[in-house]
């Protein structure tokens, strides 16, 4: 967020340039915001043994994983969605472009949290897990970045934008269906 607000200051007051890079910059910062907080998703619970208690609980692990991912999204992705319209002011985006950008972030950022949770669960307790996590998760999250930035790109036609929105939406549905199950399974493996 801070990084995103520093870009306009560093790049200068060239409105056309700022408008062109705005979606890209916001998406990259969204990706980093999600990545940086991923280690905190299960790490503290793993370290103090609360994760063992969750695994042994009669409650559904899938529900707990969904809640964890939801909480991660609320504090990383959703925060950015709420702030995106204000950030856009700095980039001099039109109302239409702001709407597109916010919508793209709203659909895309949950995917970042969902995919990231699988990586976070897999790298639990691994030495140098942070680096491994980035290597594991970044390639999977890059498509989200590409579709998201393209969907919000105001210089393209509506059709192009709509196609990218569809791909983002498809990604979200697929991630919602697959990632929590994969994360739950990965947590059981990590506890061994």
């Amino acid at each position: 967020m801070i990084a995103a607000s520093l870009f306009p200051l560093a790049v200068g007051a060239d409105t056309a340039l700022l408008q062109a890079i705005a979606p890209g910059v916001l998406w990259v910062t969204a990706l980093f915001a999600a990545m940086l907080s991923l280690a905190r998703l299960f790490g503290p619970d793993f370290a103090d043994g609360a994760l063992d208690q969750m695994l042994l609980s009669p409650q559904s692990l899938l529900t707990m994983v969904m809640a964890k991912i939801g909480a991660h999204w609320l504090t990383s992705g959703f925060a950015l969605v709420l702030l995106a319209p204000f950030m856009a002011l700095q980039y001099g985006l039109s109302f239409d472009a702001v709407c597109r950008l916010t919508l793209a972030l709203l659909i895309g950022t949950p995917v970042l949290s969902l995919i990231g949770s699988v990586g976070a669960a897999l790298t639990l307790g691994v030495r140098g897990g942070g680096m491994l996590l980035a290597v594991l998760v970044l390639p999977l999250e890059t498509p989200v970045l590409i579709f998201g930035a393209n969907a919000a790109d105001a210089s393209r036609t509506d059709g192009w934008s709509a196609a990218n929105f569809s791909l983002l939406g498809a990604g979200l549905l697929a991630a919602l269906a697959l990632c929590p199950v994969a994360t739950a399974a990965a947590l059981r493996i990590s506890a061994e």
Binding site: G49, A50, L56, S57, P58
Partner: protein, 231 residues
């Protein structure tokens, strides 16, 4: 109410002519190396099994295997005559596990930690009262709203022990429960275990520090470094 549950299960297992918890030929190997093998014991309601052995002999691993966190490479665990790992839901409903790690979060207060545990443990009714009673019985009621980070190691351990009290699970798996406890706290722990056994519960624990339990209800399991064990 919980007492009834235990008594009923006791009768049930008697009818079958089977111990409540029966472990047979349990073995576990990690990366091809046998950690322990052929571990077997029967424990019935109201009994405690103390697991002795030097460091690294596999006591902790045995408890994690029993809890279902690790998969055994051989043998069976039967709970009320049913294979525990084949029915993980009912197994998890019956057991409470206290590991090396306390499983409590430093950032939360004592009361918040217990609230989290009772949600995990499916405690539905009179949650707050049960949580308060549990804190009181380990002597932490003054620290109800204290952030756990500020508590001493022994107090944290006591908080972890109080978690066992609120869930009312019949089977307790305790890994070095007396670690970091002073004499007074050990007394509290002994009281908790005694009460649990009187209600017809079962306790399996690993110990360095000896915890006194009534000899008639105590069974012992000795681990040797080689991975063999004897009753």
């Amino acid at each position: 109410m919980n007492q009834d549950m235990f008594v009923q299960s006791e009768n049930e297992s008697r009818n079958r002519g089977d111990a409540l918890l029966s472990v047979d030929k349990l073995g576990f190997d990690r990366a091809g190396e046998m950690l322990f093998s052929n571990v077997g014991f029967d424990v019935d309601a109201g009994q405690v099994l103390q697991i002795h052995g030097p460091n690294g002999s596999g006591k902790t691993t045995l408890l994690r295997v029993l809890a279902g966190l690790l998969r055994p490479s051989a043998g069976t665990i039967r709970w009320r005559g049913k294979d525990a790992h084949a029915h993980p839901e009912s197994w998890r409903q019956s057991l409470a596990y206290l590991g090396h790690l306390n499983g409590i979060s430093d950032e939360l207060t004592a009361a918040e930690n217990l609230a989290f545990s009772s949600v995990l443990g499916d405690v539905a009714e009179e949650r707050v009262e049960i949580e308060e009673a549990a804190l009181k019985s380990v002597g932490l009621d003054r620290y109800r709203h204290a952030i756990v980070r500020g508590l001493s190691q022994g107090q944290k351990r006591r908080l972890a022990i109080s978690r066992l009290l609120l869930e009312h699970k019949p089977l307790w798996l305790l890994d070095e429960p007396a670690a970091a406890l002073d004499e007074e706290s050990s007394g509290v722990l002994e009281e908790c275990i005694k009460g649990h056994l009187e209600r017809g519960g079962i306790v399996l624990m690993t110990t360095h520090k000896l915890i006194t339990t009534s000899p008639s209800a105590t069974r012992n399991l000795y681990f040797e470094p080689s991975g063999r064990c004897s009753d």
